[in-house]
Amino acid sequence: MPVEGAEKVQNEAAEYKAQSGENEMDQEANKTPKVEGCEFGDVVDCVTCKRCSLVCPTELDLERVVRIHRYIKDSYGQVKGSHRDVFRLASKLSGMADAQGWLTGIDEGDDIVFFPGCAALFDLLLQRDTNYSGNAKAAALTLNKLGYKPEIVYGCCGHDLYYSGALDEFELIKAENMEKLKGKKIVVSCAEGYHMFKNIYGLDVVGFEEFVLEHNPEFVNTDLKTTYHDPCRYGRYNEVYDAPREVLKKASDFREMENIREEAICCSVSAWMNCNKYSRDTRKKRLEEAKATGADYLVTACTKCSIHLDCIHFEKNSEDAEALEDIKILGTAQVVGYALGVYDPFKEEVDYIVPETAGKFLEPLKIQKNVDQYIDDELLDNAFLCTTCKNCTIVCPNHHDTASMMEEFRSELVKKDLGPEKHSKIAKAIMNTGNAFGEKEPMTPHPNEKAEYIYYPGCVANYRRDDVYQATKKILDLLDVDYEIPEGLVCCGSVLRRAGHEDEFQDIREKNTELLRGKKVICSCSGCYATLKKDYEGLDVYHITDIVKENIDKLPLKEVKKKVMYHDPCHLGRKFEYYDIPREIIEAVPGVELIAFEKEKENAQCCGAGGGVKSAKPDIANNLAKKKMDEAKEKGADMVVSACPFCELNLNDNCEEIPVVDILNLLMESLGEVKE
């Protein structure tokens, strides 16, 4: 896993969150997540930039999952690109017809192949007065300057189709391109084309910048003040970081931005999919970052990055457009062409000519979507690797709700009966017995109809952690909280939803909602808490620590002289930015020394059990728990405290030396109520 840079990403995420937290200080604590982000969780909103791979605890191949998921949704007609989907449409049409030439003034031959890509189409379809195709032209002229007469092959590499789920159409385009390109050496001036030809086609391709460096031409250093934006397809996908920088250093007055290389922030749109206000904010931040370097030109090696980053400049009556007016966008080839004296980005007009084509009659593509052909073991493996810990959301440029997206994808697989057997067993157990463990006894009721509160113990506390169950009840009594546990409660269904058993979840939700609606619901389990609060509708849900924190003075706490580490449960922490209350409670216990994990709060490492991973892939869950507990051991903790019985189960399973207890257990100890 390319963890280099992960730390920086996390720090930056923490900063960002601290800021956004400040802005919303006045909001009722723990009610609303403070991370402003794309909360749709829709698969079209993922930018496939792979930034999340820096922090994913299970290192799953999200990009692959997203592509197949989009394919499935495309078969329902649910994938729609921005700009009314016209660019994907153009890709498909380019594939159906014979793409025509548009580059002018190039000395052509057959030394190598130059693939100029789609920029001219983008120029036309965007209806902006722009010249993104100038980059390809500069590249072609540069090739001439280096002594090459390239054969120019027009067409679409299919990147956007490939990444937007139009996989069948992509295969058709690929086959056509292969015929023209196979066995030849190809130069491309666009990171997307580079990535596609290299990794998806498996062709002999060289990036324009690398090609230029190989020939080491004499540069006339221009006085352009430049900085470089790493396109994901060059950077994180192919680790091409240096070549573009080197040519820019030779050709211009170059300086670096803050987030570069592995940590580079994405231009925030992928395959023309997901433009929205969050991605726009990301682009704005990126331009501000570029401007802060003192550069006049933000240079990139990807046509699409250029277009998306440039977008803000075309806003009407926009303060941001005005403020960022003086940071202009150029392509690397444009700068190189300028420095080699073959291309002037400041004079070159949009001058491509288009031969009027006869255009044969186009037969509609005969495509039968067949999802099964793309589902293999590797995909299934990846799909069920996610612990829904949301660490990815923190580093995602758009703070996209990847976990929800995974849940939706899993539900597609479960529909096809492709989910892990273990999950199906649990689902069956829940449906048959009302609890995940298949215990025959129903959840223990505590009749008290007049009570203001309901305690929802959940499966783990009710069936496996009686200590937590008892502690909660005891503390509620101590705090004079009048509560009931209604008869007939069943599992909250968290594991069902996380694992993609959506139909069953809906059933369960209906049952519980009827019993829980209208009262204040207290949970002692973070998983239950998150599910009732976020996946149910119309409930008033509290975590037990909310109640404790409010009334902590009422508890006669006695000294517990222990070094304690707090493990942030993902479903409490990152999901609700619920970090401080548990810590404050722990610190309220006299004598306790609270030691921090190296990665905590929004960067906390997941225990590994969530999202059905504990049951379906126990090794992975155990390894992650071990890792976490090793750190606790190293730091000399006497006890690890958490606020989720399920995390505690998994952590306890993987460490014999240090007890992992619930925050309520700690309180009970402090109250002198611990039974030895």
Partner: protein
């Protein structure tokens, strides 16, 4: 479940399309099984409507497809019928009469085409949503533009109904053309005697405010509440002080040709056009004033104001009547030689004949002031002539006959000839009027004058007498051209200020020539009189009464209901880039709040806002991006190699309907998709049909400068240009995409466009 209702329309559809086979197809073979089809003889009849209502209820239909005539014909009837049982917008039409049955001679082809049209409507109807409405207040004031006989009469009618009227007139007095005539047919009443009571009434009516020398420069707002800007040109004489005593005129040293007298007489630089002028005030015409100061010196009322500036003011009105009328075609420097002093227009003759005119009613020819011996009327001068106007100006036969009769009775010795193509005297008492003229010895020559050749002060008219097939060289010493009527400059100006649609003839187009002759496509804006077409005075009066009634109905309540068929914004994905607001010519997008919002009352539902939205955040109800795409899917699923013709509601679609009414031939491959405005067609719409196998795509848009939504067709033009290039780059071929401009009345242009597309896309 979607219910498809197919109409036989008697033989109108049933005679051209196998309706039963069509019905069976949708019941049995159509790929989707949630479709049920029914047919009936006349869907618009009570029986037909009952069938629709019954089935909606019985089958709990989600949407209805009406396969019948053009929605422009009975759309409102079906909407109301469906509205009784479900949301009135949960239906889609399939125009299988005008755009299928009537343009496709082969029954099999017509039936196949109807399948595709209905399939498009079915697929679109799946995405229909309920559309609500809201009530917005109306202003009860009314603006009448043009103080001619139509405008005055309508103003009086409206005032009688209790409405406050702003009457804006470009000239120095109201009255229009009629008050400049001598007499009017068929009664030979004195024009002034008939109109002066009206003038006086208008002048005295407390509910009518007259703005002379004024023009409307801007109209904003919405039906029921228009913000109107008016600019009043300076009179240079204080209207509050001037007593119209005429001292200034008497002392003014300037003499120039009088516009009021059509150049037949002279006027001073300060004058009032007629004794009955309203307002009865003098004016100084700065075009001819030499600023000698005489008038200022002689004016006892001290009313002269040389430095007066134009005044701009605004008013709020609920409805607008455009009654800006006509003018005569100018035939100078043509084969009619109107520049010759003794070739005059009918209106010039009227000025000569008026007793208060420059010659005190004597017919004296301009070159030498002598009484002509042979006076010849040239009919259809500039009318019914492909070089000028193809239409008949309707009033010339009668006005020439009227003047000939009057002159003949006063000057029995004068020879009077009338050269005509054929006499059109339809109207009560008209034929009798014409008979009498012949009895009086007026010489009617059936022959079109091909040329007028000046011969010194006289003229030789080349004409063939088609009764005797004899070519004639008529020698005349005064020629009166019965010049055709054209829309006045004021009519053209107002049309571009308010964005009203005109026909191919330039006259403003009503929403329906027969059944809604004074309504325009814009609610709250009406037309009347010769603004709509050449017509005699009595028809203008009829129009005025009708239009007053229509406006009164429109403004009868304190508020009106507006259907929210407007654009909608999804704030979650809107990036607030401002392109929609920039595209909106109605300022209907509020960009000031935290989220962008569409102002429902200002939105005119053209959809231009949605075409440049990068994030798909804004879309137009009833014609959403996906609904249009679905319609194309439906059409092309039945007939993949069709040619898709996006036709704008105002013009292209109407022209296509007219082509049907005229029973023209249109290749069945042509499939029309209705859009509110050509500017609503997105790049996706232009490209998508090709992806599905379509042979070609075209847009049928309004004439340039006549877009009902101001610049939609110009935006479409730009977009088509780019899309054509893009299609070339893709290798599809840009020539397969085209834009055609046509007015709503130009059915033949639609036919030609369709033919051209079929040729191109072979």
């Amino acid at each position: 479940m979607i219910g498809v209702f197919i109409c036989f329309c008697g033989n109108n559809i049933g005679g051209y399309i196998d309706v039963q086979q069509l019905t069976d197809y949708f019941n049995e073979e159509y790929p989707a099984d949630d479709v049920v089809a029914f047919n009936t003889t006349f869907l618009c009849s009570e029986i037909g409507q009952d069938l629709i209502k019954e089935k909606i209820e019985e089958l709990n239909l989600d949407a209805v497809v009406i396969a019948s005539c053009s929605p422009k014909h009975h759309g409102a009837i079906f909407q109301a019928c469906i509205g009784e049982k479900m949301n009135q917008y949960r239906w889609e039409f399939a125009n299988i009469r005008e755009q299928c049955a009537w343009v496709t001679p082969n029954k099999k082809n017509a039936t196949e085409k109807a399948k595709a049209i209905i399939s498009g409507a079915i697929e679109k109807s799946r995405l229909l949503e309920d559309i609500g409405s809201t009530r917005v207040p109306v202003t009860k004031d009314i603006l009448v533009i043009g103080g001619g006989i139509t405008g005055m009469h309508a103003a009086l009618e409206l005032s009688a109904k209790g409405f406050h009227v702003h009457l804006v007139e470009k000239k120095e007095t109201v009255g229009g053309n009629m008050v400049r005539f001598d007499r009017v047919f068929p009664t030979d009443d004195c024009a002034m005697c008939t109109s002066s009571p009206i003038l006086a009434e208008v002048a005295m009516d407390p509910l009518i405010d007259i703005y002379s020398l004024s023009e409307v420069t801007e109209v904003k707002g919405r039906p029921g509440e228009y913000d109107v800007t008016v600019v009043k040109q300076p009179r240079y004489i204080d209207e509050t002080k001037c007593t119209a005593c005429g001292d200034c005129t008497a002392h003014c040293p300037v003499e120039v040709w009088s516009e009021w007298d059509e150049g037949m007489g002279l006027r001073a630089a300060t004058y009032k056009p007629m004794a009955q002028a309203v307002p009865l005030k003098n004016r100084i015409n700065m075009d001819s004033c030499i600023r000698c100061g005489t008038c200022e010196n002689v004016c006892k009322a001290e009313a002269v104001m040389y430095n007066e500036e134009p005044k701009e003011f605004t008013m709020k009105v609920g409805a607008i009547l455009v009654a800006t009328g006509y003018e005569l075609i100018d035939l100078k420097n043509t084969e009619y030689h109107q520049e010759h002093p003794n070739v005059i227009s009918g209106l010039q003759l009227e000025r000569l004949k008026v007793p208060s005119g420059p010659t005190a009613g004597e017919i004296l020819r301009p070159s030498d002031g002598k009484m002509p011996k042979h006076l010849v009327f040239v009919q259809c001068a500039g009318s019914r002539d492909r070089r000028y106007n193809v239409y008949c100006s309707k009033i010339c036969c009668m006005y020439a006959t009227k003047n000939a009769r009057l002159i003949k009775s006063e000057n029995p010795d004068m020879k009077i000839s009338i050269c005509y193509i054929d006499m059109r005297t339809a109207g009560r008492g008209y034929e009798e009027f014409f008979d009498k003229a012949r009895e009086m010895g007026i010489n009617y020559i059936r022959g079109n004058v091909s040329e007028i050749v000046p011969d010194g002060e006289d003229l030789i008219l080349k004409v063939e007498d088609t009764f005797t097939s004899e070519p004639l060289d008529l020698k005349a010493d005064l020629v009166v051209l019965s010049s055709g009527l054209i829309p006045s400059q004021g009519t053209k100006d107002v049309a571009s200020t308010i964005h009203l649609v005109s026909g191919a003839d330039g006259f403003l187009a009503p929403v329906h020539v027969k059944i809604a002759p004074v309504d325009t496509a814009t609610k709250g804006i009406f037309i009347g009189g010769t603004t709509e077409a050449p017509k005699p005075i009595q028809e203008c009066i009829t129009d005025a009464g009708l239009v007053a009634s229509r406006i009164a109905s429109f403004l009868k309540d304190d508020d009106i209901e507006i259907d929210l068929t407007t654009s909608k914004i999804n704030p979650e994905i809107c990036i607030k880039c401002g392109t929609c607001a920039e595209n909106c010519v109605y300022d209907a997008i509020d960009t000031t709040g935290e989220n962008y919002e569409v102002l429902d009352v200002s939105c005119m539902a053209c959809g231009k806002c949605s075409v440049t939205c990068p994030t798909n955040a804004i879309d137009l109800s009833l014609y959403t991006e996906d609904q249009v795409i679905k319609q194309i899917d439906g059409i092309l699923a039945e007939d993949p190699d069709s040619i898709i013709g996006f036709s704008c509601y105002q013009c292209g679609y109407n022209a296509a309907d007219l082509a049907g009414t005229a029973k023209s031939f249109i290749d069945p491959k042509i499939k029309v998709v209705l859009v509110p405005c050509s500017g609503r067609v997105t790049m996706q719409h232009m490209l998508y049909p090709f992806f599905k196998g379509a042979r070609g795509v075209f847009l049928a848009a309004c004439l340039e400068g006549q877009c009902h939504y101001i610049d939609g067709n110009l935006q479409a033009k730009e977009k088509v240009k780019l899309a054509k290039k893009a299609l070339d780059v893709m290798g599809v071929g840009g020539h397969k995409l085209n834009l055609f401009n046509m007015s709503s009345a130009e059915g033949p242009k639609f036919v030609a466009a369709a033919k051209r597309m079929v040729e191109i896309c072979q």
